[in-house]
């Protein structure tokens, strides 16, 4: 007997955001990346369109990180050189794009000047052809000096710049307006603030197709279910016509997983948990794949083996099924 597959029809779709710019478009990237455009829940090819695959951004810092050795061993030769690090991430670990965190700008972690930071961004742009995500150190006051300098130095490159929050979005929004970049709008696992921040940013006249939202995520075992339901509700809001929620979603997976006990604890500490590195890889890959199911469009990752697993999963999920 034939089974009729029930299909939901939505009135709207998630907005498309284009990252990067080729020389013809005023940048220097070898190609651009488009995210979003979905007219259904994640990967439901039988029901609607999923025009663009989710992408994996690989995290690069501008200072040597205090990461677990199970991770740093893959980047050992490049940890003090963000441009070389980015090149390795693209060439050896198949990064779709680079997520560059200007951590050294933090007054307590090096206090790099805005000019130094802008130079680093230019170096990384020179080393790779993929589009770039650039975020500040997280120190708001300093970021408000650094990010405008970066935006200006990389004018034309159509970067994705972050992080804008409800309390600190004006400087970055203005920089994105003037130098034509995209913005990451972050809210603390709170759909109301997520929507409000998008309204505030759009009231400064940054077009809605230049906003990527970061609803904030927790790693597996650290509140991922809250992230999941907020992302799902955001997606449903966007699909049912709420234009202030219909943006692609950014998930900072590597950072959140990198601070879990499961990623960092040695096998001697928890013999029952199995080998540390394998456990960490699975933890990062599981977190990323779960969030892709919730509606993530960009996952930022660190461990090369976890990246492989997630890309394989994306390949499989982008296969259209037979319905």
């Amino acid at each position: 007997m034939a089974i009729e597959v029930l299909k939901e029809r939505y009135s709207s779709r998630i907005r498309e955001v284009v990252l990067g710019a080729t020389p013809e478009q005023g940048g220097t990237r070898t190609h651009t990346i488009t995210i979003g455009g979905d007219s259904t829940l994640p990967f439901l090819h039988f029901e609607g369109e999923v025009p663009h695959r989710p992408v994996v951004a690989v995290e690069v810092l501008d200072r040597v990180p205090e990461w677990s050795p199970t991770l740093t061993k893959y980047y050992e030769d490049v940890l003090d050189d963000p441009a070389a690090w980015a090149k390795k991430a693209v060439e050896q670990y198949a990064a779709d794009l680079i997520y560059l965190k200007l951590q050294s700008a933090d007054p307590e972690l090096g206090d790099s000047s805005p000019e130094q930071c802008a130079r680093t961004v230019k170096d990384v742009l020179g080393a790779v052809g993929v589009p770039l995500i650039v975020v500040g150190s997280g120190n708001e006051e300093k970021d408000n000096q650094v990010l405008p300098a970066v935006a200006e130095a990389a004018a034309g490159e159509n970067l994705l710049l972050g992080i804008a929050t409800q309390d600190n979005y004006k400087t970055l929004t203005a920089a994105c307006m003037v130098h034509k970049h995209n913005i990451i709008a972050q809210s603390p696992i709170d759909i109301n603030i997520c929507k409000q921040l998008n309204i505030l940013i759009s009231e400064m006249n940054l077009p809605l197709d230049r906003i990527v939202i970061d609803t904030s995520i927790g790693a597996l075992g650290y509140g991922i279910e809250y992230s999941y339901s907020i992302m799902e509700r955001t997606r449903l809001g966007g699909l049912t016509g709420d234009k202030m929620l219909g943006m692609p979603v950014f998930c900072n997976v590597g950072y959140e997983v990198g601070r879990t006990k499961e990623f960092n604890a040695g096998v001697a500490e928890f013999p029952g948990w199995g080998p540390q590195e394998e456990r960490g890889i699975v933890w990062e890959a599981m977190t990323a794949t779960a969030l892709l199911q919730a509606g993530g469009h960009i996952v930022v990752m660190r461990h090369p083996e976890a990246i492989k697993l997630v890309k394989k999963n994306i390949d499989a999920m982008m296969q259209k099924n037979g319905f």
Binding site: S12, I191, N192, K195, I199, E203, T240, G241, D242, M244
Partner: protein, 266 residues
């Protein structure tokens, strides 16, 4: 929530005069104004006093479409006038309305289907408007059955349970609310519901208060659309707030502004 601007109606003196004199100015002013107020559709009614409703309707549709892209809700008892207007509509329109009478059903449903429009069905027949919810629901059922029979999409059908002025027919208000709830059970997917809201406050003293209060009550009962005074800011604020309280829109501090900017779909 679909808001249909009520103002372009020959029953209003300025519009009636403009139609008779074929003066586009008041018509276009109200078309633009209501669009600015966030109307999703503009009701277009020649009024009963016009003899040649066909040519009046054609003139109105053309006149309005010169200044706005807001879709139209063609409102007439003369189906030839509606059809003449539909032929000129550049965007999917709405037809207001069909009654639960066989001759009207047979005339209007095929036309509505042919033009791919939304259709308002009134819970009345040749005997008039029923007194209670049960009889209103029975007439709604006839219209729903007709939609099925003519292959008209249920999601595009809007049942209007006909609210009467509270100062002369007070007992109807609650029956209409019951009808709105009943209508939702008549089919799956359910038909939508609409009210000609301002009728509830005809000739009463504080009209905006009555309109606003009743609209909120109707929304809580499941109302999907209203033909109303979209220029009544407090009314629109109440709609936006009801949508939040009914969990139809996601709350954000600026929800009123966003709703009015028309950024959210109906």
């Amino acid at each position: 929530m679909l808001l249909i601007g009520e103002r372009i109606n020959g029953m209003f003196k300025d519009i009636g005069k403009a139609i008779r004199q074929r003066d586009p100015k008041p018509i276009q002013e109200w078309a633009v104004k209501q669009t600015k107020f966030g109307a999703h559709y503009l009701d277009v009614n020649t009024g009963p006093a016009i003899d040649d409703k066909v040519s009046a309707m054609k003139w109105l549709v053309n006149t309005i479409q010169e200044v706005t892209e807001t879709p139209l809700c063609l409102d007439s008892t003369d189906y030839n006038a509606i059809e003449a207007g539909l032929e000129l509509c550049q965007r999917p329109a709405m037809v207001n309305s069909v009654h639960a009478d066989r001759d009207k059903i047979e005339r209007v449903f095929p036309m509505a289907k042919h033009y791919g429009v939304k259709l308002i069905g009134l819970t009345m027949d040749k005997k008039g408007v029923p007194k209670d919810a049960d009889d209103r629901t029975a007439l709604a059922m006839e219209i729903v059955a007709a939609a099925d029979e003519f292959g008209f999409p249920m999601e595009e059908l809007y049942i209007d349970p006909l609210i009467l002025p509270v100062n002369v027919a007070q007992e109807h208000a609650i029956e209409v609310l019951k009808t709105i709830r009943n209508v939702k059970l008549l089919a799956n997917p359910a038909p939508k519901t609409v009210l000609g809201l301002s009728n509830v406050s005809q000739k009463a003293l504080d009209r905006p208060l009555i309109d606003r209060t009743y609209l909120i009550m109707a929304m809580a009962s499941g109302l999907d659309a209203a033909i109303c005074n979209v220029g009544d800011e407090e009314l629109v604020d109440a709609v936006a707030t009801s949508r939040i309280l009914l969990n139809q829109d996601v709350y954000a501090d600026s929800y009123l502004k966003v709703f009015k900017a028309g950024r959210e779909e109906a």
